[in-house]
């Protein structure tokens, strides 16, 4: 069973597999490179994200509005990391994001929670802008 017959069967099987894959290989001339799709509502930078949160939290009219608002909340830590805000500020933003993500299914509560922290968000946004400007980086990249 485990002797010569099995080894022969295996050899034939491997040869057939190699031949079959040769026949099955697709035409390689097509280039299937896919581009990154960035959602249209993704803010370009942290300052814009704060502005969008302020505007959108006051105008949640449909499930799509709520979804986009939730998306922006989710992007906040990533966008904040693209500024010079220190760790303590970033941790605060991350903490707020985690709290707000638990309210995703409750649009009114989410909007209210964002509005309650608007002053704090505006302060963080202003600080980010000042730090980036002072570090000669500029917040807005065109």
């Amino acid at each position: 069973m485990t002797g010569l017959r099995t080894r022969k069967l295996l050899c034939y099987g491997m040869m057939m597999l190699l031949c079959a894959t040769g026949c099955l290989s697709a035409d390689g001339e097509h280039d299937e490179h896919a581009d990154h799709e960035i959602p249209a509502h993704k803010p370009e930078h942290f300052v814009e994200a704060i502005e969008q949160l302020s505007l959108r939290s006051q105008a949640v009219k449909s499930p799509q509005d709520n979804q986009e608002l939730s998306d922006i909340v989710g992007w906040l830590p990533e966008l904040a990391a693209q500024t010079d805000l220190p760790k303590s500020d970033w941790d605060r933003i991350h903490e707020l994001t985690l709290q707000w993500q638990m309210l995703e299914e409750q649009p009114e509560k989410l909007a209210a929670a964002i509005q309650d922290h608007q002053t704090e968000l505006d302060t963080l946004s202003q600080r980010a802008l000042e730090l980036d400007t002072s570090n000669s980086l500029g917040q807005k990249v065109d």
Binding site: T2, G22, H33, A34, H36, A81, Q82
Partner: protein, 553 residues
């Protein structure tokens, strides 16, 4: 097309052979130590043969030993000679290539720790279920243990391990290893360049199945598998596909399948494979929702699997030069050492085979030396074989832990390396040398990950803040890579057809410049964050002293 496929296969096999060399060497060492120092009886004890612990014990030992799916083949053959059951051998053989201290550490910083923990537990479920089933359905899978005489203490005992390694490298172990590498040839033929980027997206019900088809013939070192696992989670790819890649891509190859068939027969092997695939796919689909990351933007493609595809465009030429260049660029020092050691063992093995023709080497190795009263000193302590064997195996584990600190240097050292790489990438990108930039980008990505692991290793934690800073750099690297690919495509199209005007919404080179600038800024922020790691209080951001590098290097 034939040229591209042929040279692509040469490149993939050569790359895999060099990556596998240190692990194959380790596998031969472990097999020889099992045979000569630990002995069949103690090997059975080590794996809890005949007890309920055999499968989880095999899993646990597999988690510790640093071998890959090719290097585990000599060990499995030795375990069979020692008389272990098929279920135990296959449990070890499937687990050992998946995890080791280096790869687990790597994985803990890439994915959520809970994910790695869950995958480890699921691998235990996989090997336990199929091992129990195999041993229950085929209770006579264990062979009669080979009787081997132990070598006496002294130089013969040391030489016996080298002799075993030399003989093993010229045995069917190497044949199965070579068969294991043929899977890469199959993938190289079936998958044109970059053709597997969009087939494992999250939410795609076919993703685990397609990944299974690719993972079985694929070869991945434990580190590569863990790296790809992390990339899949960061891109929101299918969790089931990630699990299939880990278990089957890292754990299985054609060589193991052929060895199984020869050792246990095609019926038992078919049963084992069927159950394995059913359990892996079942768990994969089951884990899809619970482990799917919710805090990332799912990408619609990933470059992580380009390494399994043909590396060359079918229309390209100059393959041999590219193969040489790629091998010279990619080979690492530890791989060179591994290859040299294997070559030395192969030469030693040839010498052993020649000696065996004229002289009974085995009899010499097992004959105790003549001992006189003067030659025995009270300070001479004869260590039992099992102490030597245990020390050797334990030493391998300890060395792999220590190697973690070398492989994942301190943050300062990583940042120094990244500084050099950054210069290469940004200057090449801005000057239009896309090939050079694209060569260095994966190296930067690798050091970016090593930076995180280096911190985690030394501080036993990595804050979300630092993780996000590194992730931003990784994202910008990927965007720059795409911009460079876009520029390359445009240049190629322009070369092919100079008569047509090419209108672009965005000038490809402007796009490259844009992302190069963003990358430079992201890198600066990351450097500040990591250099402030030891600060107990956060300080205002430090003024940049080299702002010029963000505008052009």
């Amino acid at each position: 097309m034939i040229d591209a496929i042929t040279w692509g296969a040469v490149l993939r096999v050569a790359q895999a052979a060099s990556q596998a060399a240190p692990f194959i060497l380790t596998g031969f060492i472990i097999a020889a130590v099992f045979r000569r120092w630990i002995g069949p009886a103690n090997v059975r004890k080590l794996f809890g043969d005949g007890t309920w612990r055999s499968l989880p014990q095999a899993w646990a030992l597999g988690m510790l030993l640093p071998v890959c799916s090719l290097g585990v083949i000599p060990v499995m053959r030795e375990m069979k000679r020692a008389g272990l059951t098929g279920g135990t051998i296959l449990a070890f053989g499937l687990t050992a290539p998946l995890f080791n201290p280096l790869s687990v550490l790597y994985g803990l910083t890439l994915s959520e720790p809970f994910t790695i923990f869950a995958f480890s537990l699921c691998s235990l479920v996989v090997v336990t279920v199929i091992g129990l089933l195999f041993d229950w359905v085929f209770p006579t899978s264990a062979q009669t243990p080979e009787q081997t005489q132990a070598s006496p203490y002294g130089i013969k005992r040391l030489t016996s391990v080298l002799v075993s390694m030399g003989r093993d490298i010229w045995s069917y172990s190497t044949v199965y290893i070579l068969i294991g590498l043929t899977g890469l040839i199959v993938l190289n033929v079936v998958l044109p360049k970059s053709s597997f980027q969009s087939y494992v997206n999250g939410g795609d019900p076919l993703a685990p199945l397609l990944m299974t088809a690719v993972a079985i013939p694929a070869y991945a070192t434990p580190m590569l598998a863990m790296s790809q696992l992390g990339t899949m989670f960061q891109h929101g790819n299918s969790v089931g596909a990630a699990f299939a890649l880990l278990i089957l891509g890292a754990g299985l190859n054609f060589g193991i399948m052929v060895w199984m068939t020869v050792s246990y027969g095609w019926k038992r092997s078919a049963v084992w494979m069927t159950v394995l695939l059913a359990v892996v796919l079942g768990l994969g689909y089951g884990l899809e929702k619970p482990l799917y990351p919710t805090d990332i933007d799912a990408a619609d493609h990933s470059h992580a699997f380009d390494v399994y595809c043909c590396p060359f465009e079918y229309s390209a030429d100059n393959h041999w030069t590219q193969v040489q260049q790629k091998l010279a660029d990619d080979i690492r020092p530890e791989e060179i050492i591994g290859l040299l050691c294997l070559a030395a063992i192969a030469i030693a093995g040839l010498v052993v085979l020649l000696i065996d023709r004229r002289f009974n080497l085995e009899a010499w190795l097992t004959t105790p030396p003549t001992q006189t009263a003067e030659s025995k000193s009270s300070f001479d302590i004869v260590l039992p074989n099992w102490v030597l064997g245990g020390s050797a195996i334990g030493g391998l584990v300890a060395v792999s832990v220590v190697l973690c600190f070398a492989y994942y240097p301190s943050p300062e050292e990583c940042l120094d390396e990244i500084f050099i790489i950054k210069g290469e990438v940004l200057s090449a990108a801005r000057s239009g040398d896309t090939e050079h930039a694209m060569y260095w980008i994966p190296i930067w990505e690798d050091w970016n990950r090593r930076l995180q692991v280096g911190v985690y290793l030394r501080q036993l934690s990595l804050s979300d803040y630092h993780r996000m800073k590194a992730r931003v750099v990784a994202d910008q690297l990927e965007l720059l890579e795409h911009a460079l690919e876009h520029e390359q495509r445009e240049m190629r199209e322009q070369e092919e057809d100079d008569h047509h005007d090419h209108h672009h919404d965005v000038d490809p080179h402007e796009e490259v410049d844009y992302y190069a600038t963003r990358l430079a800024r992201a890198h600066q922020r990351m450097v500040r964050a990591y250099l402030q790691l030891n600060d107990t209080q956060s300080k205002p951001a430090v003024k940049s002293t080299d702002a010029a590098e963000t505008e052009g290097s």
